[in-house]
Amino acid sequence: MSKYRLDYLDELEAEAIYILREVAGQFEKPALLFSGGKDSITLVRLAEKAFRPGKFPFPLVHIDTGHNFAETIAYRDKMIERIGEKLIIGHVQDSIDAGKAIEQTGKNASRNALQTVTLLDTIAANQFDACIGGARRDEEKARAKERIFSVRDEFGQWDPKRQRPELWDIYNGKIHKGENVRVFPISNWTELDVWNYIRREKIELPSIYFAHQRECITRNGQLMAASPFLNMDAEDIIETRNVRFRTVGDMTCTAAVESYAFEIDDIIEEISNSKISERGARMDDKVSEAAMEDRKKGGYF
């Protein structure tokens, strides 16, 4: 007789599946925001568990800065082919061409902030009423108070003072026209939980998560992948380093860490012993202590 007991990964998985099914049940036009990072890849796996053998009741949406790691895009396209679900791509370049976003200049120029414009436009164009994201509460202080169902106004804004009480596991997805809800099924997971889950489920990841040799420059004390998207000058010295990436974002703002973690077990060990939190490798959070909170209020994921 096969009997199941819930270990902590099962518990987290069951909760996430429950949340995904609530989205399917409560909204007319939901979408799953897919970045190509391990958290959204985990969401795709959870969606398979929630809805198979049926189709996903939502498309995947990728907000493409155009400054991607080539490995991420290759991974994305292969994955979409495997799961046979719909992918909608919102291009930051289109927002720039339409004059809705202005390319930053200078050494630290990045398209990271411009993603918000494209995201909001993509939501409006497709009339999405719920966007599923892979954010976790352990990532950052401001996220620690975010609800599982987080209501945004038509400007995409999050108002931390006007959050709905979220009781038991009853999620209130009622909204007015023009508003939408960001839903975070893996809110209660930590970075290590995600990695342990990926190992358990044998989920394939983009290769940049694993140690490899790459040309890098050192910028503000962090290792950045040398690329045409990064504004470099004579002061920047390119060196080949053994690195991997702990998050997958825009090439201009995702720092690498020196690493010899070639296998998933190495990564789990590396993270278990690591003394730097995941977002510590994100330059976009370093700007000010309240950086994340400000971006969230402005409609960031």
Partner: protein
């Protein structure tokens, strides 16, 4: 990590009512003055749950204790507005783990104006830590916090008597407060209380056993949290599955596939069980259970599953599948405890929405029976139901709800009220019984 007393879990094989959870969610009740944030900060700091860059930010902060040591309370502060005002205004979630268990802390503010936040945090908690200032003993807010813990039916309670360093680590002070608290616990119907004397500021009995209180022989707080047993009810009599989604691929090869997807909210289902679908009342037998690619013979509370029935009956989201031998109450006139959570007062003439499990229907609060003064526990017959008020009401719903009394089955006894004008969640309901 550090050395800890290891209490092995006895084998659970064959014991049907003792399934251990591996994640413990707990709430801390207390106010800034009781050192609540310091206690959480100490728990995180001493259990080495703080990473280097967060620690760096902590040391770089300008906020220090009077003696110049780092103010650990900063670790639980979240939002800018809160930092400016120096208070916690919302529920913040913190995560840490030890070798034995994973923990989620719901850090809720303790002042009376934030009662709704505490109710929110308490709704999901498996354990509550109630903080008492050793210098002050059992005070009004202790009564309030204990009442809420009891109302929300948090199964385990730990009373931390804090600031023991300020009372010379006195055993007499501790014993006096324990005796006082036991009287209160009896009054509000709380069982299972563990008392721990601590100093969050100095670190006594939080993670490490105190060297200042040799008279205390119990566990440190962390050790208790690691070993406390949190059980779930997995009897088939209470088997409940609110249907969230019907999986119907409608492809050629899966033409007849029809699976009812949902999370078992309580109890256990087995293949072959006779089940009833409510509110329709149709019965059938479970033909297959699925968890993605697995086909277990039995599924338990907490699991997200897909159920197949022998008969083709009309089931949709909002229905609940229950064991035929243990049916919930089915009623559209229900007595309930209510916590009001909106700045607009309750309006008994207005139609609201009630969301119970996956079902949302119109409702009215037909009658306010009484309110409770949660500081004194006295009943109040004032009919004005404002933000943070708690009391007993009768709710009338447009369609019957299939519920269990909250005291017997939390998972199927809680519901929320939504104001259909604003779509905001305005009330928490603990359903009690059908009114004839």
């Amino acid at each position: 990590m550090k050395e800890k007393k290891h209490i092995p879990n006895p084998s659970q094989e064959g014991i049907r009512h003792h399934i251990e959870m591996d994640i413990l969610k707990f709430i801390t009740a207390g106010s800034v003055d009781d050192g609540k944030s310091t206690l959480i900060g100490r728990l995180l700091y001493d259990s080495e749950a703080i990473l280097a860059d967060q620690l760096e930010a902590l040391h770089a902060s300008n906020r220090k204790n009077d003696d110049g040591s780092i103010d650990l309370a900063i670790l639980t502060d979240g939002l800018k507005a809160e930092r400016e005002q120096g208070i916690t205004i919302d529920v913040a979630y913190k995560y840490f783990e030890t070798d034995k268990r994973k923990f989620i802390i719901a850090d809720a503010p303790g002042h009376i104006q934030y009662t709704r936040n505490m109710v929110t945090g308490a709704s999901n908690a498996g354990l509550a830590i109630i903080l008492i200032d050793a210098r002050k003993g059992v005070v009004e807010q202790t009564t309030r916090h204990s009442f809420l813990v009891s109302l929300l039916q948090i199964p385990q309670v730990v009373v931390c008597i804090n600031k023991m360093d300020m009372v010379d680590y006195s055993e007499d002070v501790f014993n006096r407060i324990v005796a006082d608290y036991k009287k209160l616990a009896a009054k509000v119907n709380i069982n299972n209380v563990t008392f721990i004397p601590v100093s969050a500021l100095k670190g006594d009995n939080i993670v490490y056993p105190s060297i200042n209180m040799g008279w205390y022989l119990g566990d440190s707080l962390l050790s208790h949290l690691e070993n406390v047993s949190i059980k779930i009810d997995d009897t088939s009599a209470h088997a409940r599955l609110p249907v969230q989604w019907v999986v119907r691929p409608q492809t050629d090869e899966l033409h007849d596939y029809r699976g009812y997807a949902g999370r078992v909210s309580s109890g256990a289902f087995r293949v072959g069980d006779s089940v009833t679908v409510l509110p329709s009342g149709f019965s059938s037998v479970i033909s297959k259970l699925e968890i993605f690619d697995k086909h277990p013979q039995e599924v338990l509370a907490g699991m997200s599953v897909t159920v197949h029935l022998q008969d083709n009956i009309d089931i949709s989201r909002g229905d609940i599948i229950v064991n035929s031998a243990g049916r919930p109450q089915l009623s559209n006139l229900i007595e309930a405890d209510l916590c009001w959570m909106d700045t607009r007062p309750l309006d008994t003439t207005l139609t609201y929405l009630v969301q119970h499990n996956t079902k949302t229907v119109r409702c009215k609060i037909q009658e306010i029976l009484y309110k409770v003064n949660i500081n004194t526990l006295e009943k109040d017959y004032d009919e004005d139901f404002q933000l943070n008020d708690i009391g007993r009401i009768v709710i009338k719903t447009a369609e019957p709800l299939a519920f269990d009394p909250y005291q017997l089955n939390k998972a199927n006894g809680g519901a929320i009220i939504i104001d259909s004008r604003t779509n905001v969640t305005v009330g928490a309901l603990m359903l009690r019984q059908s009114v004839d």
